[in-house]
């Protein structure tokens, strides 16, 4: 289960606040995954006291609204990433960055599909730069794209370009994953699917033996 409470002292109209929260949740908590199980209790409650003395934000069509939205995105993404980082049994955070999609929604679907893949997650735990599993998870995300436009990088190491596998330094790529695991750091996966303006991120973690151990012992 994930729970969240967000607070601000900005002054904002109720309908605008609710839409801002919806957008930020979709860009953060709804873009994380640890084990693919959607809880019965997931909740985020966001309260705005309005006592900062700021001007009231009553519309999306102004700079102040975009500033507040960006702040809300940042706080929720920071918290969401912390949850994925702390995934049960995880040794590292996986950040999937998708670009070149038709829109943000399509990019988000692919990012989360890759972050959710048990096989991709297990490969990261095994320090295996398995571009095939990443490409596979992108392909079944439910988003139409041209395979010949698919590009995949692990950190800054190109693994696939224009839909074709590339020769790469397997030892260096594996060391990148190993280093992230040893320091409980972040593995970055960059995926491009075309020339569209849509981009998004998704976050997950690697899948280790400990995940099974923890949940075999934590009863329902």
């Amino acid at each position: 289960t994930m729970l969240g409470v967000i607070t601000t002292d900005a002054l904002v109209a109720s309908n605008i606040w609710r839409e801002m929260v919806r957008i930020s949740v979709n860009r953060s908590f709804n873009q994380i995954t640890v084990d693919g199980d959607t809880s019965t209790n997931d909740s985020v409650i966001a309260l705005a006291s309005g006592i900062s003395g700021s001007n009231k934000i009553s519309s999306f069509d102004n700079y102040e609204a975009h500033q507040l939205q960006a702040c809300l995105d940042a706080v929720m993404q920071g918290l969401a990433k912390s949850i994925a980082w702390d995934g049960e049994g995880a040794t590292c955070l996986i950040e999937v960055h998708v670009t070149g999609a038709k829109n943000e929604t399509d990019a988000a679907k692919i990012a989360r599909s890759v972050a959710s893949s048990s096989l991709a997650k297990a490969a990261v735990y095994g320090r295996d730069p398995n571009w095939g599993r990443i490409a596979c998870a992108a392909g079944y995300a439910g988003v139409d794209f041209d395979l010949n436009e698919l590009q995949i990088l692990l950190g800054d190491i190109p693994l696939m370009s224009k839909g074709q596998p590339l020769p790469f330094d397997r030892v260096a790529a594996s060391d990148y994953l190993r280093q992230a695991g040893q320091t409980h750091g972040t593995v970055e996966i960059h995926i491009s699917i075309g020339n569209g303006q849509g981009s998004s991120k998704g976050w997950g973690c690697d899948l280790s033996y400990d995940y099974v151990k923890i949940n075999a012992e934590y009863t329902t």
Partner: protein, 213 residues
């Protein structure tokens, strides 16, 4: 059986900061960083093991504009159903009460009544309308809240409310279950020439694939 608030941070460390870059400054305080908010986290005797804080409260000095997103799982927990109904009819809230230990999910009508009883009791302690209190629960699915323990702990919890960093930290720890770190963030920036703050806390480690609306 309530641990002191300042002991809370001894239980688990804070998460590393994973805040995206931007035109803001990270500040201490989590949910209490913004003006008008207080928080507390205490041990109320709800957890099956240990004495890590398990009861958190976030309260606002004024009626706050409230928004919520909740799981779209059809088998939603009692507090989820309660909050959804409340926020359908009200745009305001003053307090969020959170327990760890029992999820109060798949607990039927009795579990829903427990949620109402807890909200009403807290509203009475804070001298609020009961529809100003929202509830979140986390823990073992299929178990009702240890309501008697929770109700006994409410006076101490309300007395512990604080606008300090420690108040925010203790609340962030009290909502954890299998989490290895507590999650709390606050930022400050200028919006329209006025300094505003946004803060938050979260918990989560397993059963994580949110699909909230």
């Amino acid at each position: 059986i309530c641990a002191d608030v300042d002991l809370a941070s001894r239980y688990i460390p804070a998460a590393p900061i994973l805040l995206p870059d931007g035109p803001w400054k990270q500040i201490p305080g989590g949910v209490t960083a913004a003006q008008g908010f207080k928080a507390a986290g205490i041990y109320g005797g709800l957890r099956a093991k240990g004495e890590k804080p398990d009861l958190a409260l976030v309260a606002c000095d004024v009626d706050a504009i409230a928004a919520g997103t909740f799981t779209t799982n059809i088998v939603a927990a009692a507090p989820v159903i309660y909050c959804r109904r409340l926020l359908e009819n009200s745009t305001m809230a003053r307090a969020v009460l959170i327990n760890a230990g029992q999820a109060n999910a798949a607990t039927g009508d009795a579990g829903y009544q427990d949620t109402i009883d807890c909200a009403n009791a807290l509203a009475e302690h804070l001298n609020l309308r009961s529809d100003r209190v929202l509830i979140e629960s986390t823990g073992v699915i299929g178990q009702r809240i240890k309501k008697e323990a929770l109700l006994r702990a409410l006076p101490k919890l309300v007395d512990s409310l604080s606008s300090t960093v420690e108040g925010a930290d203790s609340a962030a720890i009290a909502i954890t279950t299998t989490d290895l770190v507590s999650k709390s963030i606050a930022i400050e920036t200028e919006v329209g020439g006025t300094t505003i703050r946004v803060g938050g806390m979260a918990k989560g480690s397993g059963m994580i694939h949110p699909n909230m609306a």
